[in-house]
């Protein structure tokens, strides 16, 4: 079985008009894009929309990606900007993010999972943006600290620290303790 092409190779092939490479690139980066959008928006449905739009936009502007091997970081910046725009639009519409409503989207008939989603999203609210991105990219996407560091433009050590704090805060919230207790507890 041939080795998986690198992201840089896929980017070059998409530029040359290879549709299959385009699908592979989307398959590889749509979930991380969703994770970053979710970190900003804390609403899975909105995050999915923003992630999809960001990838389409990235394809349109692919020739502007000067370092194809660093496509992930370039995409993260697009997703962040678009997520912030979306957050402003949502706020302007006077529609605050309703965590319970957001958690319920797309999980009809699965009350337990829906409740867990609501708790996770509520806990995410307590985290600053970067630790939120780190924990989602690491624990949801399975990215390494090296990958996270490169994409978010932070050091690997920084990424580890953010993950440690994020996990402790989330766990404390999920187990019912307040974040203050959690941060002083260890």
């Amino acid at each position: 079985m041939p080795p998986e092409p690198s992201t840089g190779e896929l980017v070059l092939r998409v530029r040359a008009g290879d549709r299959a490479a385009g699908e592979a690139l989307v398959r590889r980066h749509l979930r991380p894009a969703y994770a970053v959008a979710l970190a900003v928006l804390r609403n899975p449905a909105e995050a999915e929309d923003v992630a999809q739009e960001s990838l389409v936009h990235a394809f349109e502007r692919l020739d502007d990606c000067r370092e194809p091997d660093r496509f992930a970081g370039w995409l993260v910046r697009i997703v962040r900007n678009r997520s912030l725009d979306a957050a402003l639009r949502i706020r302007a519409r006077g529609k605050a993010v309703d965590v319970a409503e957001a958690a319920a989207v797309g999980v009809a008939g699965d009350a337990e999972r829906s409740a867990l989603r609501a708790r996770l999203l509520a806990a995410m609210e307590r985290l600053p943006p970067v630790p939120r991105e780190v924990v989602l990219l690491h624990d949801l996407e399975g990215w390494t600290h090296a990958e996270i560091g490169a994409a978010l433009e932070i050091s690997e050590v920084n990424s580890r620290q953010h993950l440690f704090v994020a996990r402790r805060t989330l766990r404390a919230w999920l187990e019912g303790a307040s974040p203050e207790e959690a941060s002083h507890g260890s």
Binding site: V26, Y34, L55, E60
Partner: protein, 117 residues
């Protein structure tokens, strides 16, 4: 497996694999469309010149086909005597023969040429 990992699977958008695969395909298709260069109207019209040229050539070939296949245009076989109707050739023949053509011969030569055309 990292034992400290927090289970975020309830936030995973690809839990429904079939739906996610469809989303991936749709995004890839939209991406491919977005990459297609948008051409101006003159550029789009200019893009048609090759097929238009091919069409004109085909029509011209079809129009010429009956003429090319007509008996008048066939190549004479070796030794076949062909009536000379070209005024230039006629004049050359008269010169070689030291002949002085009469008015009727000249008119006939010219007339035959005109009739051919």
């Amino acid at each position: 497996m990292d034992p400290d990992r927090i289970d975020l699977s309830s936030l995973d958008p690809s839990r429904d694999a079939r739906r996610w695969e469809e989303v991936v395909r749709q995004v890839a298709a939209r991406g491919a469309t977005a990459r297609r260069p948008r051409r101006t109207v003159p550029a789009q019209l200019a893009g048609w010149w090759r097929p238009a040229l091919a069409l004109v050539a085909a029509v011209a070939a079809a129009a010429w086909l009956p003429v090319l296949l007509s008996p008048a245009s066939r190549v004479p076989a070796a030794g076949e005597v062909v009536a000379v109707s070209d005024p230039v050739l006629s004049a050359a023949a008269w010169t070689v023969a030291g002949q002085s053509p009469g008015t009727a011969q000249i008119i006939a030569s010219m007339g035959a040429t005109n009739a051919d055309r």
